[in-house]
């Protein structure tokens, strides 16, 4: 019942030609075929947001997409956020310093969602941040550390731009 298709995708800047089962979800493709296990699967019905990735810069649920739909697209996962091996993105640093994560399972989806959000909203209010992550469930933090981290990250990124 299944058939294979070849797709060409760029993931975190690296080009892949891959043969994929047409029913393979994008999340499973990233996790199990490319071994990019940083993208997490929490509900497989698009509610929890843990599997959020960026496709051509826009956030998307990788559990609700098929791998074949990304042919010709550029994908960013949590592994592709940091500028380099020894460095972290200001958002990652702010999460660490504001205790924006506990078990860390929702974190990849939070980060990808917020990369897009902070790009479009460089100077957000607390309410803006809360709405931005309203599609990402976290059972550990009560969101307070995450919200503090995002506001802190916005400040850091602003300072970086000014520098």
């Amino acid at each position: 019942m299944s058939e294979m298709r070849r797709i060409a995708v760029t993931v975190n800047g690296r080009h892949h030609d891959a043969d994929v089962d047409v029913r393979l979800t994008l999340a499973d493709f990233l996790r199990h075929q490319l071994n990019l296990t940083g993208t997490h699967v929490g509900c497989e019905h698009g509610v929890c947001g843990a599997c959020t990735i960026l496709i051509d810069g826009r956030s998307a649920r990788s559990c609700l997409m098929l791998a074949v739909q990304t042919d010709g697209r550029a994908i960013t996962t949590v592994e592709g956020i940091a500028p380099g091996p020894g460095q972290m993105h200001p958002l990652q640093e702010a999460f660490r310093e504001n205790h924006g994560l506990q078990c860390g399972f929702c974190t990849p989806g939070m980060l990808t969602t917020l990369i897009e959000f902070l790009r479009d909203n460089p100077d957000p209010t607390e309410d803006d941040v809360r709405i931005a992550i309203s599609g990402n469930l976290c059972r550990c933090t009560g969101y307070q550390g995450i919200v503090a981290a995002v506001l802190d990250a916005a400040k850091r990124m602003k300072a970086e731009r000014a520098a």
Binding site: R31, G38, G42, R96, Q102, R130, I133
Partner: protein, 780 residues
Amino acid sequence: MTVLGNRVLRLEDEDLLRGKGRFVDDIHLPGMLHAAFVRSPFGHAAIRGIDKTAALSHPGVHAVLTRDDLLPYLKNERIVVGLPSPAYRQNRDRPALAGDEVVHVGEPVAVVIATSRYIAEDAAALVEVDYDPLPTIADPRAALIAGAPLAHRDAPHNLLAEFDMGYGDIEAAFSTPGAHVFRESFWQHRGGGHSIECRGDVAAYDAMDDRLTFWSSTQTPHAAMRILADMLGRNEERIRVITPDVGGGFGPKLIFYPEDITVAIAAMIVGYPVKWIEDRREHFVATTQERDQYWNMEIAADGEGRVLGLRGALIHDHGAYTARGVNLPYESAQTVTLPYAIPAYQINVKLALTNKVPVTPVRGAGQPQGAFVMERMLDRVGRELGIDRGEVRRRNLIRADQMPYTKPLKARGGRSVVLDSGDYPKCQEDALARGGWSDFPQRQAAARAEGRHLGIGVANFVKGTGRGPFEAVTVRIGPSGTINVFSGAAAMGQSTKTMLAQVVAEELGNDISNVAVVPGDTGTISMGIGGFNSRQTVMAGSSAHVAAVKVRDKVLAVASHILDVPERDLYIHGNQVMATDAPERAVSLGQIALSVTGTPGFVLPGGVAPGLEATEHVVIDDMAYANGCAVTEVEVDIETGGVKILNFVIAHDCGRVINPMIVDGQIVGAVTHGVGNALYEWMGFDENCQPTTTNLGEYLLITAPEAPHIDIIHHESPSPLNPLGVKGVGECGVVPAAAAIMSAIEDALTPFGVRIAQTPITPQEIVALIAEGRKKKAAP
């Protein structure tokens, strides 16, 4: 600067932020196959036969296993996990896979092992199970009435267990002249754990070495190892259970499940590693949850609002099997009076079997329900007697000068309940002050003049933490100089690695980056109890402290010999031992460790025993009781029934704080969980025991816009029971949350005479209560 007590950033974070964590579904082994379970679609049914033919002929399927296939591997077919208690009236241990009867929707009946999860699920749909549906019992109260449908065909009745708890002369209390007596009935419901990572296992059996390796997203790896050994009749030394990173626990992952033993046996049968990852729908129907309690209570108080006695009965929904024991309602019943000096208490508790998912603890373990009962009854006393709700509590709270205070109750293992320390009235006083209690009436009046309905609520709690008897910790330094810490403690997000690293580094150089912590791997330490009951900082922290002190003493003894400097003139800084007066005279931890590995034919330096290592199991039988007070202000929209939390203050005392950042995170997370329990989470079943909330659209977890900002006040009353002076914190915040919120909603709706005797409460129910209140007021 010391690392203990300071806001130290976490060891766990960098990997998790880079997507380099390793959760159970991130494990890929060569040749690994995938499991999908066939589950009962009925709440109760007989199984007349299972036809695997179609599934087995599906391409990519390696095996389809049912109970009969597992039996040759099982010394014991049942999962025996019930904690000891004389209260049981019947034994309802779970089987690995169902035999000729299923007793809840979601119960595993068969498992398909295939080359991918996709194919395994395709084939699972092809397994034909011939069911004969049987009557179901959904309501635990109805379950206990004679003639009710039986949850199990062979059961004499649906009473799983029954016990009485209490102290004092309850009859005398209620017959005190002038006593005011009030009755209340409560329905309390809590849902599932819903860690964002569901459960999962990877099992690999190495026939050459006769070794079973089992990676599991569990809170209790050593218990899992022992249960596997017991059920399989194997030497426990041939089984290793490893917890990789765990994406949240919240209680249900402390349970050993039918899927766990089935996946282990499947790996032995097919000869390849087998992975099973639970999906969210399975989490709703196969992972344990808390659900329903029905309380009928009666309180007697004197004219000043001093409680004379409290009595009543609790009926608890146990679900279809015993997956942990009677502990959940036991904790509920025991928690009720904890913060207060109440002279007499009596409660009868009955656990009823129903055809639903087994019930076991979720964060808080029945204690939010106990606190809810007490706090709602005190609100009633205050209202009836015209005494401020804060004042009626103050009059009954145990005072600081009464500590330690012995409650005439027994903890589940038989030890006395002794509240070890704390200033409960001061916590309440501070919380009320921060929450603006005294000037709230003005705010409320001003809002009402604008047609807005504000309310304020208060709730105290006392929470038993640090469940004994011990947790194992090994501290070992090898020639690399890394301080390795191994523990039976399990990490599932509570910062356990950082906590242990701080405790150990405090004695060994003050730098947590020199410390590598491995929790939850039975291959590294022989004993362990695991992560639940807010126990690990108390129990593992104490063992880590004592072990680190022993290693430190030896480090200094050997360094003294190597440097020829008296021990009293040495100190450890980072990974070096230095002379106080001559820092150039230094030797590294690695060199010291190397020197005690032994050189053939040579005496060990200073005549010490070999190795730089200590293993400790500090035994602490009594619990450390944390406490606190929550004050919350809400606004209720009387048209929609919507509740907005405007302010939530919690004054909190978990003894000595190891890391304020982490403690705050635990409190905020737990309070938020409690807010969800009060206003959003509901695990529904219909009258046929079919679950009606099986996705995260139907079952509501709180999201960021509804989550209130939590304002925390810290008190630190060190516990005298352990060397660090700590008390547990992980569950505390959840305990008072629903009670405080209902108190506030009721206060907001005073003009309509609304009374709330349940949790959760939905907007629809609030609107209905307002309408009912208006009707009553309008009636002559």
